[in-house]
């Protein structure tokens, strides 16, 4: 299971990182295409340093990677980690979808009312 491959600490870091609206927005943007920290910072009403901090949190959770290119710091999304986080919730969804399916069967079963 992917989640276990990530390990408990990683999972905690990922969810903590994604629990902030600005950081989710940053992930969404860099998943669509790499961006410099300064270009990212122009999207938010906060200081460059604050955006840099958000990027650092995402970097520690391995949701993004950062690379220095000349004077710029380029941020890009880590598809694998984002997918793993999404999968964690996806598995929960599967669990419940299967349960709903079984309730359906139960309700449709002849004599279901009598049980």
């Amino acid at each position: 299971m992917v989640v276990y491959q990530l390990g408990q600490e990683s999972v905690d870091r990922i969810f903590a990182a994604l629990a902030d609206a600005t950081r989710r927005d940053i992930v969404t943007r860099v998943m669509a295409g790499e961006s410099s920290v300064s270009a990212l910072a122009r999207n938010y009403e906060m200081s460059f340093a604050a955006v840099q901090k958000h990027v650092a949190v995402l970097e520690r959770a391995r949701l993004v990677s950062k690379e220095r290119r000349g004077r710029e710091q380029i941020v890009r999304g880590d598809v694998g980690t984002v997918r793993a986080a999404a999968r964690l919730l996806g598995e929960l969804e599967e669990l419940w979808r299967a349960r709903i399916g079984r309730i359906d069967d139960l309700l449709a079963a002849p004599g279901g009312d009598a049980r």
């Binding site: 299971m1 989640v3 999972v11 969810f15 969404t28 999404a86 996806g90 929960l92 709903i100």
Partner: protein
Amino acid sequence: MTVVSTQSDVENLTFTIVAEFPAPPSRVWQVWADPRQLERWWGPPTWPATFTDHELTVGGTAAYVMTGPEGEKAHGWWRFTAVEEPTRLEFEDGFADEHGTPAADLPVTTARVELQETDGGTRMTVRSRFPSTEAMEQMVAMGMAEGMQQAMGQIDELLLAGV
């Protein structure tokens, strides 16, 4: 499909699923209230659940054990915090040791079930809330133990789009 919608909220650590059934709330209530019916759907065919206790009153508890294909046992408990037949049910859901004693060191999730009468039957909303990301993973681990791993790719895409 009777599943109307699902919503995962990472920020608030909740998962919500809405489903519709072609039966009145009084009938859908029974699938939760009657342990013999409950055990026909709570665990999948490969990990069936057996409810050894099910006291459906506020403060009452339920106890169940799920048995895996190799005879492995996974114990769980519920404690009902709201019982309003046939519209609302709330309970805490936790793990237990092999004697059925609640495991103090494992996380407890809370579930809220709402049954609403519709034209053709019942709309059921189930919301699971997790105290922490760790709890969320525990819940998923239970799901994995139950062997729920279909349609991964599809769900990946779906949830990825929402990130």
